[in-house]
Amino acid sequence: MTVERLTQLFAERRRDGRTVLVVYLCVGDPSVEDSRACALAALEAGADALELGVPYSDPTADGPVIAAASYRAIQNGGSMKSALDVARAVRASSDAPIVLFGYYNPIMAHGDDVLPADAAAAGVDALLIVDLPPEEGRSLRDAAEAARLAVVPLLAPTSDADRERAVLARASGFVYYVSMTGVTGAGHAPLEEAGRSATRLRVRAGLPVVVGFGIDSPQKARAVADQGVDGVVVGTAIVRAMAEQETTPERVRAVGDLVRSLRLALDAS
């Protein structure tokens, strides 16, 4: 399946007039088992796709909530390998697209040329690498293409026409539009404006566009969705909801509740 799984999801949702809800989890926070259980709970509660975060020691694009989660995750077994394990477990019972989300160094350590095939075998459909602009990582991109994995490009409010062209040149799957200049979890995202920019970008890109960074409530998700974007990503709010709970069943319930409320807001007409 791989790239097609994404293409199909976005096409179906657009036909139905619904917004794709992507949920981010930091694998290993607070345990790999929690990540697996909460990933399944998110899908059951109405998430359309998962971003499985591979924790990294130096997540410079993440704010304090996800940075702290990454730190905990590494202490508790979070790694590329365990992220692939969680992908495999999810894929065993779900057909939802899975995006492997992370930084480049853990990918280099795994092996640029072998990661895409390993990820595809684990049921992953796309890679999203925060610190890999299109000029870098050629061997990874070649291997991803061979494994029919999308490498999701990121664009930001600072991206000009030149950057847009460079970023979109080899894009597949969907485009991730970063809502603001900032790190994940920041509160200052001008979300409606970001949604409008993303919708215009969608036309130029000829690909679905999702918006992420700073969407931490059903209201905000809805505000972005109303601008006509294909999807929204919720990360920090999920990580925070999990961190507030003491036990796995509580975390599963909290993720389910949050995802249901997001789904409800997105689907309300």
């Binding site: 704010g63 730190y71 853990p106 795994h110 602009p133 990121l154 950057r163 200049t181 900032g182 790190v183």
Partner: protein, 413 residues
């Protein structure tokens, strides 16, 4: 000693300021930052090479920093290291400790802040380890009237307290970083997060020859004044090139600044990394010696990392070398064999500090002390290579006042 038969072949040469030095370098950052790096690169190419910019910066170096800095022949130390003089004929110290603010860092800070000002940036941020780059940036900002915020690991805030006080006195805001190892790496992470948030108004003044392109190239260009001067001064004093030049390597800015002038000559280049409690101990910062290829802070270089690709904490008594990465040009120079990288432990550096103070009356920074600590070894190697006693020039990158509390704690007077 001048022209030579042993010049490296062309493939050994690491040239240019392209994004890459051999297989190292590049620009591994969030897309949000790419336009700012492109803008900086263009500004640097158009502006910084202009006559007007160069003369403005050069006059700051002359009248404000006190350049050229002295080149001093350290005979007593040379004889302490090699009493007979069979191996170490002459030891020349390039006195960057005599720069305004006490280290080479000011050369780069003035250049970058001036560039930022020309770019219309209204705010400067920096990371600092030893505090020398923080002080230098705070100084440049005071002098050029820009607000300055400096990220510094909590551990370094404690061990380099005098420099924290200096930054405050200079009107900068020091922001302690409590994440991770609470040292230079984490300060750089926080600075990058600030920059990604405020990229439109803010210039990130990177303090070493590390980071994403074009920083390693810019910093090396602003620091090459060290080696250019040393070369000219040696030509005047002894009419020859040195046999070898030596510098300590944290991110690698004073070392590359020293190396640049000699890279195309028959001069051996030695960098000395921090071995902390020993390279075998896992508590060290010897990235080139014991690291692996990876990506850290925007460039592909040598890093200390585990099998999962998680960056490891570095350890060194000197805050300025306590970093698990290194500038990409050094990774390339190591790879090509053009430069040799050695290590010195905490104990070696402390002992060298004492020796230089007692023989020459110079209290050197703990960072610099690592370079001194390998001099006997380097003299030995050069003697073996040349079959005669060697002339060595060392970059004395900074003064040690900032380290007094560590020295008092660790060295019985």
């Amino acid at each position: 000693m001048s022209a030579s038969s042993r010049t490296g072949d062309a493939s050994n040469k690491v040239t240019g300021r392209g994004p890459y030095y051999g297989e190292y370098g590049g620009r591994f950052v969030a897309e949000t930052l790419v336009p700012a790096l492109v803008e900086l690169e263009r500004a640097y190419e158009d502006l910084a090479s202009s006559e007007a910019f160069q003369s403005e910066w050069r006059s700051m170096l002359a009248d404000y920093v006190g350049r050229p800095t002295a080149l001093y022949r350290a005979d007593r130390l040379a004889r302490a290291i090699d009493p007979s003089g069979d191996k170490l004929a002459e030891l020349w110290l390039k006195r960057e400790d005599l720069c305004h603010t006490g280290a080479h860092k000011i050369n780069n800070a003035l250049g970058q802040v001036l560039l930022a000002k020309k770019l219309g940036k209204t705010r400067i941020i920096a990371e600092t380890g030893a505090g020398q780059h923080g002080v230098a940036t705070a100084t440049a900002c005071a002098m050029m009237d820009l607000p300055c915020e400096v990220y510094m690991g909590e551990l370094d805030v404690a061990r380099q307290a005098p420099n924290v006080a200096r930054m405050n006195m200079l009107g900068a805001r020091v922001i302690p970083v409590t994440a991770g190892s609470r040292t230079l790496k984490d300060a750089m992470n926080e600075a990058l997060r600030d920059w990604v948030t405020n990229v439109r108004t803010t210039h990130y003044c990177v303090g070493s020859a590390a980071g994403p392109h074009p920083y390693p190239a810019i910093v090396a260009d602003f620091q090459r004044v060290i080696g250019d001067e040393a070369r000219e001064q040696l030509a005047q004093k002894i009419g020859a090139l040195p046999d070898a030049v030596v510098a300590c390597v944290g991110g690698g800015s004073n070392a590359i600044g020293m190396f640049r002038a000699f890279i195309d000559e028959d001069v051996h280049l030695y960098g000395v990394e921090a071995a902390g409690e020993g390279v075998e101990s896992a508590k060290h910062a010897a990235t080139l010696t014991a690291g692996r290829v990876g990506v850290l802070h925007g460039s592909r270089t040598m890093v200390l990392a585990d099998d999962d690709g998680q960056i490891l904490e570095a350890h060194s008594v000197s805050a300025g070398l306590d970093y698990p990465g290194v500038g990409p040009e050094h990774a390339a120079l190591k790879r090509s064999g053009r430069a040799t990288y050695l290590t010195a432990t905490d104990e070696d550096a402390l002992e060298a500090t004492r020796q230089v103070a007692h023989t020459e009356g110079i209290l050197v920074a703990l960072e610099t002390a690592h370079a001194f600590a390998r001099l006997a070894d380097i003299a030995e190697r050069e003697h073996a290579r040349l079959g005669r006693s060697a002339v060595v020039a060392l970059c004395l990158s900074g003064r040690g006042d900032k380290d007094l509390s560590t020295l008092l704690e660790r060295l019985a007077p």
